[in-house]
Amino acid sequence: MEESAQAALPAAAKIGSLENNPATSGDRLFKALVSEHQDMVLNTCYRFVMNREDAEDLAQEVFVEVFRSLDKFREESKLSTWIYRIAVTKSLDHLRRMKRKKRFSSLKRIIGIDDPAEELPSSSSDNPEQTLAEKENLAVLQQALNALPENQKTAFLLSKQDGYSNSEIAEILQTSVSAVESLVHRAKKNLHDRLHDYYQNR
């Protein structure tokens, strides 16, 4: 396990706080890397999947992937940007998988088999009525978000998360800042239109 992390040591060691301790072994370096970015990665995944368990599972997958590909990391971008890009890719993959699963489960519902996997994120509220309304709104929002093109969805969701500047989002999406601004604007408009359609026709 140490070999892979050691191989990426020269690249990773230059970044952030890790640079201060060149004597750390690859294993310790990787542990430090996880500690430094785990919350950001977890919250990034959470924005996409809106479910804590799934987000935690995805965040772990992200770090496994980081560990495996650390030696392939080229210093074309910041290490953190590279990690967040992996988080976004994994989250989008998860959403795609869920979409396929949903299609399959709706088919199962037609033939009379219920799918317990279709669960919405639980609300923190104690009021059952409010919880129900929140759940419904969240489901509607999730549906509207999932209908957006992936680049719009990514730009919009990252812009909603603290800690991402437009330039960092642009680096993650490998595009320009003005393109990110345009994507966020279009995403907001599309979301508004979709929600408007939904609430008007309800």
Binding site: K31, L42, M50, R52, A59, E61, R68, K160, L191
Partner: protein
Amino acid sequence: MKRYDKQTEEQIEETMRLLDSLPSLKASPFFRVHVMERIDALQRKEFESGGIRGSFNVRLALGAMLVAVNIGSAALFFTSSGHIGRISDASGAIEQLHDDYAGPELAYYVETVDQSGAVSGREDNPKESGQPRR
């Protein structure tokens, strides 16, 4: 109608606000431990499957297959061209044989022309019988 639109807009805003109100999560204290466990499990799995498959590599397998196909087609080409060579060798040998045995020395059927110009044949070969030809 206006009231209806206002209500819809309020609902949209309320729904959009849900994104802002999503809690900021903190990773569990065992998060890193779980990650390391996953990595260990993955490495164990890779090691075990590596033992079974050796250093199997798809690219390597494809390369080997290409080399085998190339060698096979080359062998096929040379085999068939050898056959053609053999055919040409055989026709040469037949020609050689024809030249060797078509000469008058070995002819057992000698054509002679008499004084009237009529062609007649004799079956004896003067060279073979050791008698000079008249």
